[in-house]
């Protein structure tokens, strides 16, 4: 394409272990999800300070236009898009984070524009949650190489199925991360969701192969 594209060849070092765990398929789905969330949380602590701050500013901007009809108006939505860009451009943070918070905000704006239901009292939650999801997809899910065969001989299709199985846990974890960050207005205490205790099956033969 014009002037060349940069395509990411490998998964970043930060998520290599999670990738291997997923490929090996030894851990239970919930444990895999917890490992992934734990890494995502550490990544957010390093990089999401400005996006959290920006999500508040963008939320304040959208809250001023609270009526749903305003977002259905294309001129108003276009104006909001420009205003979001202006806010983001002023921030002094890496371009990658700016682009991700921009994607997140524009996705939320698009939902509003098409009459999507959203808690209009808490746009920040919607935006920051979407930012975390964008980050997860950009840095992990959609950065997994598109090779036919992965670590431990797992096929790409099988790996994608395993990733899909994590979704309910990830959604819950991302929601919790976003809620905590917004409540504290910082990323210091992002906790993993409480682990569901498995019931002990007294009839289970622990020695069985």
């Amino acid at each position: 394409m014009p002037d060349g594209d940069m395509v990411h060849r490998h998964l970043g070092h930060f998520y290599q272990k999670t990738y291997k765990i997923l490929c090996e398929g030894v851990l239970a789905t919930e444990d895999c999800a917890r490992d992934l969330l734990s890494r995502l949380g550490r990544d957010l602590k390093q990089t999401a300070k400005w996006p959290l701050h920006l999500s508040k500013k963008i939320s304040d901007l959208l809250s001023q236009k609270i009526g749903p009809l305003e977002f259905a108006n294309n001129d108003e939505a276009a104006r909001s898009g420009h205003q979001i860009d202006d806010l983001i451009n002023l921030a002094d943070c890496p371009n990658r984070e700016k682009e991700l918070i921009s994607r997140a905000s524009k996705t939320v704006l698009n939902e509003l524009r098409h009459g999507g239901e959203m808690d209009t009292c808490n746009f920040q939650l919607a935006i920051f949650k979407q930012y975390i999801r964008e980050k997860y997809e950009a840095d992990f899910k959609e950065r997994i190489p598109l090779s036919r065969e992965h670590h431990n001989g797992v096929s790409h299709g099988e790996l994608m199925r395993r990733l899909e199985a994590l979704e309910p846990y990830l959604n819950f974890g991302i929601h919790q991360f976003a809620q905590t960050a917004i409540k504290n207005q910082n990323l210091d205490n992002l906790r993993l969701p409480r682990q569901v205790r498995r019931e002990i099956n007294l009839d289970e033969d622990l020695l069985a192969g």
């Binding site: 002037d3 060349g4 002094d92 943070c93 704006l109």
Partner: protein, 485 residues
């Protein structure tokens, strides 16, 4: 929150007045105080092909500005994981009172931030030296200003050729003045060769102007390989040429898929994909020129709603096989002996092959894949990424036959599409809804083309001993597929 030692990321690019001979540029690293000197020159003698007898001094400033942007972007590297580097550009100009106007300055910096991801600051000083020789030579006789003419950029690529060929055929009375920068020797030569071939087919209807920018004494400095300001520089120089030919429009021929350049996967973020010929970039350059010259100026891409294969329709109808094979599309041309120069596996080469196949024009281009010795690296990388994008487009266009639902799904996956429509539909002279429909049609056509050519194109990327057999088979398969359309 000021992060990561802002001072370490600042550069000042101080330009001496740009003359006929190479001029000095000082790159000052604000953190270390290091000063590097580079020489830069522009050969603008081809601007004698103009209609105005007197060279407008504001146009000379546009040229200098383009050189300054090109130089500054090439000599500084932006890491996307770090905060933006700040560039301060100090440039002597003839009209500081125009260029220092806050609205214009702001427009310029915003446009460059959008295209390069760097924070630009400009300081325009009054130029004390006389202008370059081209400015001081009044024309003795000017060409006819009443001739029906279109000025367009000329890269020597397949889109430029396909677009021009189509326009030449559609408007038989029109002349075309082409503008190329041709700073690279190979590109310069190729632009000329394709131009001569076209001139032979369409005598007395074509003119070519080239204004190369060259560096000297710069080998000690690492260059920015992904110079994202390239498109803006090219358009500014092309706009200057258009103005000198008496027009207020510059044309850029680029297929819509390449121009919009959506990310292949979500891992592609921001400037991983260039915005060189993005509709918002064209709009921005047009607005900037309007501010500079004080008259309405536009940069238009008549092929925004065409796929590359659709652009090639006229070439295919006339079976211009040899002509098309003279062009180059490769993002990283190889220079190894006994190897074809075009790689055949970067995204531009793949789109070229896809367009050839879908337009049913025989592809006589020699590529490393499949004609040469394939490299050790993964040659499927770009193909797999492009196919992932096609798959995403297919999924998001499918859920309904209702365009409103299709747009909702498409813009949910690619929210940047809303910005394009919101900001440029007026420029395209169509309503917002019409533009959405046009874009839906564009992406649908693109997906359909891929559905037809994908199996045969993928075959080229399987490592086989007899590559020529692979090509032959793929051509036959493509033909069959298209005949069944």
């Amino acid at each position: 929150m000021k992060s990561l030692n802002r001072q370490q990321l600042e550069y000042c690019l101080h330009f001496d007045p740009l003359q006929d001979n190479p001029s000095i540029v000082r790159r000052i690293d604000r953190a270390t105080g290091e000063v590097h000197r580079v020489r830069v020159s522009i050969d603008d003698h081809d601007f004698k092909h103009r209609i105005q007898q007197v060279f407008p001094s504001v146009i000379a400033d546009v040229i200098d500005l383009a050189v300054a942007i090109h130089t500054s972007d090439r000599l500084t590297i932006q890491d996307p994981q770090q905060p933006q580097i700040q560039l301060k550009v100090v440039l002597p100009v003839r009209h500081p009172e125009i260029l220092n106007k806050s609205t214009l300055n702001q427009q310029l910096c915003q446009l460059l931030y959008w295209a390069t991801g760097k924070q630009w600051v400009f300081e325009f000083e009054r130029r004390r030296q006389p202008g370059r020789s081209i400015e001081n030579q009044p024309l003795l006789c000017s060409s006819n200003p009443d001739v029906d003419e279109e000025v367009s950029l000329w890269s020597g690529g397949l889109d430029a050729l396909a677009g021009l060929y189509d326009r030449l055929k559609q408007s038989p009375a029109k002349s075309f003045a082409l503008f190329g920068s041709g700073s690279n020797d190979n590109t310069h030569r190729r632009q000329q060769e394709v131009f001569y071939s076209l001139q032979h087919l369409f005598p007395n209807r074509l003119a070519l102007c080239r204004i190369p920018i060259r560096f000297d004494l710069s080998s000690h400095l690492e260059k920015n390989r992904f110079s994202r300001a390239r498109g803006i520089v090219f358009m500014l120089l092309g706009s200057a040429y258009s103005y000198l030919r008496g027009h207020r429009v510059l044309h850029v021929y680029e297929n819509g898929i390449g121009a919009i350049n959506l990310p292949y996967r979500k891992s592609a973020v921001g400037l991983d994909h260039s915005r060189s010929v993005h509709p918002e970039t064209l709009l921005g350059v047009g607005l900037l020129m309007t501010e500079l010259i004080g008259e309405n100026f536009k940069v238009r891409n008549p092929f925004l709603f065409h796929t590359k294969a659709e652009m090639m329709k006229s070439l295919a109808e006339d079976a211009r096989i040899e002509l098309a094979s003279q062009t180059s599309s490769c993002d990283s041309p190889h220079r190894k002996p006994q190897q074809p120069p075009q790689c055949g596996y970067c995204s531009s080469c793949i789109l070229r092959k896809q367009a050839y196949a879908a337009s049913q024009l025989e592809d006589k281009t020699e590529y490393i894949v499949p004609h040469g010795n394939p490299p050790v690296e993964d040659i499927r990388l770009y193909l797999e990424n492009m196919l992932a994008q096609v798959a995403a487009l297919r999924v998001h266009l499918k859920p309904s036959n209702q365009r409103a639902d299709q747009w909702r799904a498409l813009s949910q996956r690619f929210p940047e599409l809303n910005d394009i429509v919101d900001r440029t539909h007026t420029e395209e002279n169509i309503t917002l809804l019409e533009m959405r429909h046009q874009l839906i049609r564009l992406f649908q056509s693109y997906v359909s083309e891929w559905d037809l050519v994908m199996p045969s194109l993928s075959e080229q990327f399987e490592r086989k001993d007899n590559s020529s057999v692979v090509v032959h088979t793929s051509q036959v398969t493509i033909r069959k597929g298209l005949l069944n359309r």
